[in-house]
Structures are given as structure tokens and as C-alpha cells.
């Protein structure tokens, strides 16, 4: 098990494995997203109270969940990089941070768009919304800190440390609805309770969530691979690989 992890930690091996996984992930992501969109946006019923605006749910919830998961992954990768100095972890972190920021932004925007018809305002300063906004700034900080250092290695370590410190915000987002009485909806999915939505709504939602996660995995694989190529461009295995593919093309 330990050896397997270390083997995967080698960029060359990860590059090859990810290359094989990547098309499957993309295919799965596209299939799930298509199915989920059709189901959620076309076939699922409109809400009796909210009308068609409820369909924002199918974008809002997956992006909100991803925004948090990506940060946790970012912090985990940071920890691995700082402790064991596995470069691959940092390449992964560099590859996924902008995507996490984008998801956070999308969750905020979709939430705001949804807020206008349901709460009558774009924005309120409730705990969940605020902690989500903070999350966006944490992402921006992690990204900016990496770029601010001239030495790439130091920038990577600094942003890993910040991700580790900033991860405390994730539980705050998660539990904000329980700790403070707020406007925002409490969790729908739980391991111990049945969902509080009708199945015709939460089933397509589940498909959308799965689709977004598959999309994330596919994108992470692809971006990490290109990050590997960029950073390892001078190592032997990359040069050999490039020689092989260009040789093939020449033939």
C-alpha cells in the first residue's frame, strides 16, 4: 500500500496512469452532466412555491459542495507536500486551486441569483454566505501567495501552509447553518436522515453532484498532467516521451 502511494507519487508514473484514466473520467463526467441537466432542468417538476427558479439548485449545490471539497483536497495536498516533499502533491495543488476558486464564485453567484426570487435580496450577511465569501478570499490568497514568491519552491510551500491554516473555514461553512439560525437551508443529504426533498428533485440533484465531481476529477487529471510536463520538461523521461511522440508523428 505504502509503496503503491510512493510509486504514484512519481510524476512519470502518475502521468502514465492518469493518461489512461483521463478519457474515462471525461466520458463519465459528460454523460452524468448531460443526464443530470436534462433530468433536472427539463423533466423535474417546478417547485410549488418557487417555480422554475428552483432549478438553480442543480448548479448551486454541486458547486457549493465542490468549493469545499477542493479546499480540503488542497490542504491535504499541501500537508503531503510539506511533510513528505512529494512534488506531485504540489503540482496537484497548483492545478486545482483556480478551479476551486471558480466553483466558489459560481456557488456565490448562483446563490445570489437564487436569493433574489426567494429571499427578495441578492445578499444577506448570514453566516453561511459570509463564510463562503471568506472561502473565496482564501482561495485568492492561496493563489496570490504562490505567485508572489520569485522562487517557485518557496511559493509552493508558502501556499501549502496557508491552505493548511485556511482549512479551518470549511467546518465553519459546514456547520454555520446549525450554529446560527439563518435564512439559509440546512443540509439535505445526510447519512442518518432521509432527504427532505421529494425524490423527483433529489435524484437528479444527486446525478448532477456526481457529474460535477467526475468533471472535477477529469479536469484535475488533465491539468496536473500538463503541470507535470511544464515542470519536468527537462527531465529525461519527458524528453524521451516527447521524442517518441514527435518521432511517431514524423513517421
Amino acid at each position: 500500500m505504502w509503496r503503491a502511494i510512493h510509486r504514484l507519487g512519481s510524476p512519470a508514473i502518475f502521468y502514465a496512469v492518469a493518461g489512461r484514466l483521463q478519457p474515462w473520467c471525461w466520458a463519465l463526467a459528460i454523460a452524468l452532466l448531460l443526464a443530470g441537466s436534462l433530468w433536472g432542468l427539463v423533466w423535474a417538476p417546478a417547485d410549488y412555491q418557487q417555480g422554475d427558479s428552483v432549478r438553480i439548485l442543480y448548479v448551486h449545490v454541486p458547486t457549493a459542495l465542490l468549493a469545499q471539497s477542493v479546499f480540503v483536497l488542497l490542504a491535504a495536498a499541501g500537508g503531503v507536500f510539506l511533510v513528505w516533499r512529494i512534488k506531485l502533491a504540489d503540482m496537484l495543488a497548483a492545478a486545482i486551486a483556480p478551479f476551486g476558486a471558480l466553483m466558489t464564485l459560481l456557488a456565490l453567484v448562483s446563490g445570489a441569483l437564487w436569493g433574489l426570487p426567494t429571499w427578495g435580496t441578492w445578499w444577506v450577511w448570514d453566516a453561511r454566505l459570509t463564510s463562503m465569501l471568506i472561502q473565496l478570499f482564501l482561495y485568492l490568497g492561496v493563489i496570490a501567495l504562490r505567485g508572489a514568491y520569485t522562487a517557485a519552491e518557496s511559493g509552493a510551500r508558502a501556499s501549502a501552509l496557508l491552505a493548511l491554516v485556511g482549512v479551518v473555514n470549511v467546518p465553519i461553512i459546514k456547520f454555520s447553518v446549525d450554529w446560527w439560525q439563518t435564512l439559509h437551508q440546512a443540509a439535505t443529504f445526510s447519512l442518518v436522515r432521509p432527504p427532505s426533498m421529494p425524490a423527483s428533485m433529489w435524484l437528479p440533484l444527486l446525478v448532477m453532484v456526481a457529474g460535477f465531481y467526475a468533471f472535477f476529477v477529469a479536469l484535475a487529471l488533465t491539468r496536473t498532467r500538463s503541470e507535470i510536463l511544464r515542470r519536468e520538461s527537462r527531465t529525461r523521461w519527458v524528453r524521451e516521451r516527447v521524442a517518441r511522440t514527435t518521432g511517431k508523428a514524423a513517421r
Binding site: T121, W122, W123, V124, W125, T130, L133, I134, F137, L140, I143, A144, L145, G147, A148
Partner: protein, 232 residues
């Protein structure tokens, strides 16, 4: 090898200095965006600290936005001359055969272009978060654009005076905050007037007059301050 003329090529030097500043700002995008992020962050802090109802927030919005924009400008001022001083470039600029006031103006212009102007453009967006009505967006942005230019000019005097000092940042605040007060009063006044549907033209005209005055006087003051501070 000639003892050349003193005042040739001011245009070249001016354009090169402006270009240099913009290039430096572009090179460290993270740091250039920091005033904007700071602006947005502090605006997010106020509702958390104040715990007021949304409808009352709108009434406070122009003042909060203005005070925060002022603080963001203040913070970004500290770096205006600091690096140049540390690496010796500032000394070289003082020794250039060009009017120092002109060169300094190029630096301040660059500061406003990457700081104050984007701040003014961002303000309406944050206004949304503070439940500001749409009608007051334009006056808010215009007042901030005009006002932040004055703030950059005035603030640069303070930045120049404190450039050689460690912990200059805070001393700088203390020096320039009182000078910022007139700009704040007219600027926030314009935005507030627009909010309650009043006439904001007079406030904006006053802001413009302040800017003209600052443009006339500040460059000389900055130049003089730099010549003093360099021997700190």
C-alpha cells in the same frame, strides 16, 4: 564627452517612468490586485461586526465604502517608494537631470491607474452587497475615481516623508489621514446625496477642485519630501 544640456528628454523620461511602474505592477499581479481584495474584504467585515438589519445597511453604505476605499489607498501608498528606496533606484531618480516633481507625478499616476481607478469600478459591485440602490452607482464610482486621485497625490507626500523609516506604514497613516478628511467629506457626501436623491453635482465639483489643487501643489511637496527623506 560633453557637459550636456540640463533639460532634454523630459517626455522620454516621463513616459519611461510611467511604463516602468506599470510594468512592475503587472509583473506582480497578486500584489497589484491586493488593494481590491482588501477593499472587498473589509466591506465584508463591516456587516459582520455591525450586525444591523439589511435595510439600515444601505444608509451606511456610502460612508463605509468611502472609508474603506480610503483605507485601501492608504495601505497601498506605503509601497509607493519603499522598494525603490531599498534598492537604491529612488536615489538614482533624485539624481536624474529632470524635474523630480514630473517624475514623481508619473509614479503617482501609475499608482492611481492600478489602484484608485479599479477601486472606483469595483465599488458599485460591493454596493450590491450592501443593498445600495442602483441609482447611486454612477455618482459613487465618479466620486471615488476623482477622490482617489486626490488621495493618491496627497498620500504620496506622506509616503515620501516616511520612506526611510522602518515601520513607516503606520506613521504614514497618522500623517496623511487628517489630510484625507476633506476628500472624504465631499466624496462620501456626494455618494450620500445621490442615495437620498439629492443633488450631488456640487459635491463632485468640489472634489474636482480639490483634485486640481492637489495636482498643482502635491508634486512639488512630494519632490521636496523625497529630497529630505533620502538622508534619513
Amino acid at each position: 564627452m560633453g557637459a550636456g544640456d540640463a533639460d532634454t528628454g523630459l517626455a522620454t523620461a516621463w513616459a519611461a517612468t510611467l511604463g516602468r511602474e506599470l510594468r512592475r505592477a503587472g509583473r506582480r499581479r497578486g500584489e497589484t490586485l491586493a488593494p481590491l481584495t482588501f477593499f472587498a474584504l473589509v466591506i465584508a467585515l463591516f456587516p459582520l461586526g455591525l450586525t444591523v438589519q439589511p435595510e439600515r445597511l444601505a444608509g451606511l453604505a456610502p460612508g463605509l465604502l468611502w472609508v474603506t476605499a480610503l483605507l485601501a489607498t492608504l495601505l497601498s501608498l506605503e509601497a509607493l517608494f519603499r522598494d525603490d528606496h531599498a534598492d537604491g533606484s529612488l536615489e538614482q531618480m533624485l539624481l536624474a537631470p529632470q524635474p523630480l516633481a514630473a517624475l514623481v507625478l508619473a509614479k503617482v499616476l501609475a499608482h492611481w491607474l492600478v489602484g484608485g481607478l479599479p477601486l472606483a469600478l469595483l465599488a458599485p459591485l460591493l454596493g450590491v452587497l450592501l443593498a445600495l440602490p442602483a441609482g447611486s452607482y454612477l455618482p459613487l464610482a465618479v466620486s471615488l475615481a476623482l477622490g482617489s486621485a486626490s488621495l493618491s497625490l496627497i498620500g504620496a507626500i506622506g509616503a515620501a516623508l516616511t520612506v526611510g523609516l522602518a515601520r513607516g506604514g503606520l506613521l504614514l497613516s497618522v500623517l496623511v489621514l487628517p489630510l484625507f478628511v476633506p476628500v472624504l467629506i465631499f466624496g462620501a457626501g456626494a455618494a450620500q446625496a445621490a442615495l437620498v436623491g439629492g443633488a450631488f453635482g456640487a459635491h463632485l465639483a468640489l472634489l474636482g477642485a480639490l483634485l486640481a489643487l492637489a495636482l498643482l501643489l502635491a508634486p512639488w511637496a512630494i519632490a521636496a519630501a523625497l529630497r529630505i527623506a533620502i538622508n534619513g
